[in-house]
Amino acid sequence: MTALLKVQDLRVTFHISREGDMPWTRPRPLHALNGVNFSLAAGETLGIVGESGCGKSTLARAITQMVAAQGKVVWNGTQDLLALSRHEMLPYRANMQMIFQDPLASLNPRMTIGQIIAEPLKTHHPNLSATEVRARVQLWMDRVGLLPNQINRYPHEFSGGQCQRIGIARALIIEPQLLICDEPVSALDVSIQAQVINLLADLQRDLGLAMIFIAHDLSVVKHISDRVMVLYLGRVMEVADRAALFAAPKHPYTQALLSAVPIPDPIKERAKQVIALTGDLPSPMSPPSGCVFRTRCSKATEICARVIPELLGDSHQVACHHAA
């Protein structure tokens, strides 16, 4: 089976020039993503986790071409999306929709809910009649649990959870094959998070959607993902099936992340051994040589500073010289 989406050696580099630089000084490169590889089958959910600044959102933006990227993003085993012009990209965009972190900010405050949800339809199917558009908008409002009488309201009249439902309706109304969720629940209350996650899971099952689910909350990722990818400083640390990753993490960084998840049982929680990471995320402007994680890793040895570990393994891939 060919993968729906295959990302090969994806690199995103930002060029940063400092305040007071001379005009001829070359801006310094910041490697936000450094050789990311993964593939995604139709109907599969890939969870992406990592600290702030590790490149999670950049990955989402690179796939949707909102930032310039190098490498390959192969759609359906045939078409490299990065080779397409903006115009040629348009039909692929209809198959690839996105949900954003801040639900309210991602909705235009001057447009009604009806207009917002109808916008993708009007962009990708301009020939639809007004009645047809309205019928589909109402169908999707119903599917995501919005009331029909809310169609003429403005975004600020809704709660965060409702706004995220509007965002989901907008993303799914043109029935994409891939949904990219960029921290869709981070801005919501825990109780609302569960509702939105369950809504997403239901819709995914019904529509056979593939999802890239970005989050920094491991419990959310554990709930919804089939496979999980751990990013650190723009590099993939570990990719594995959910069960395998949460049961037996191989990378020291994943182990540290998992040990930080609180357990809702005070006795176990107190007995738990937390692997505390020391220090901050190194600056992506000057990443450490070799393994990028070595500066905070308890297992780091001399080889870690010299050789960049490759992502090895079949179903459970890990990039570490000392993989457990």
């Binding site: 949707t64 909102m66 990209m89 348009l90 965009r93 209809a94 929709q97 996105m98 954003f100 972190q101 801040d102 900010a105 991602s106 909705l107 235009n108 405050p109 001057r110 447009m111 009604t112 916008e119 993708p120 962009t123 990708h124 003429n152 600020h156 965002g167 907008r170």
Partner: protein, 370 residues
Amino acid sequence: MKLSALNQRRWTNFKSNKRAYYSLILFALLYGISLFAEVLANDRPLMVSYKGAWHAPFVRFYSEADFGGDFRTEANYKSAEVQCLIKAGGSLACFDDPKGVAAEAETSGTAAGEPVEKGWILWAPIPFSYNTINDLGGLSAPSAPDSTHLLGTDDTSRDVVARVIYGFRLSVTFALIVTALTSVIGIFAGAVQGYFGGIVDLVFQRVIEIWSSTPTLYVLIIVAAIWRMNFWLLVGMSVVFGWTGLVGVVRAEFLRARNFEYVRAARALGVPDHKIMFRHVLPNAMVATLTMLPFIVSGAISSLATLDFLGFGLPSDLPSLGELTLQAKQNLQTPSLAFTAFFTFAIMLSLLVFIFEGIRDAFDPRKTFR
């Protein structure tokens, strides 16, 4: 035409601002009246009945010969002879004793004993136009207000009321046209600059800096020396040198908004750039843009007045409030000129500022109204 829900709300908001609402009504009334200035103040009669046939001299040309006189030139309706000819149906006796014959025709319907067809003349409420040079009957120009000239006359003995009415219309029309054109160009330029940013912004910004530092007055003087200055030339010059005023604000708003999440969302959906700019960003940049508009309107009015005051504006036979101000400065012995100019400007500019202030508040979605 039915307003959309949002515009209805804006209209309600606007109305709840009493000062702006009444200013709008008053201003619309004044400007509406001034649009009919030809009917209000004219040195040609609105309607003339000559031998039973009706004529409208304020829109059409009639020679003196049409009323039984000798000359093929336009009838001088102010002269006693022409008035007599009209009233006495073209009786030749008018050339001997115009006043007497006219009075006779009006009372008895005869002229020098012979029966004639009676005629009449309907004058505008102010029987002077902005460029009528009046016979002041011995008074020196500029004359103080009296019963014939309610605000007196200026130094070429033209009626000030008529000139204010026409001048108001000219100033406001000028300001509105200039504002509309500069806004369209300025918003478009600012939108492109802010939305695309980067090198487009950098280059464009330098071009604007150079352009806006052109000494406008010198260019105007040169242009005025080449062509005779007229209304549309002045509008053109004001737009050419005025459009940069809005660019800064619109650019800043677009620079801010282009990284908003909903703009990103629209981009991810595949919405084309021009739609994002004008459907997503511009409506949200509108408040800041509208904030600038009152300044542009009042700026256009005062720049027209300034040019007229300095003598580089419209030719002096056109009704101009700036020229009135200049005359007030030169004729301090007739303070009515100065007071007229001051109050006309003060009322006009205040009303406009109040109105636009109300519009700006009405467009602000975060502002609440009682």
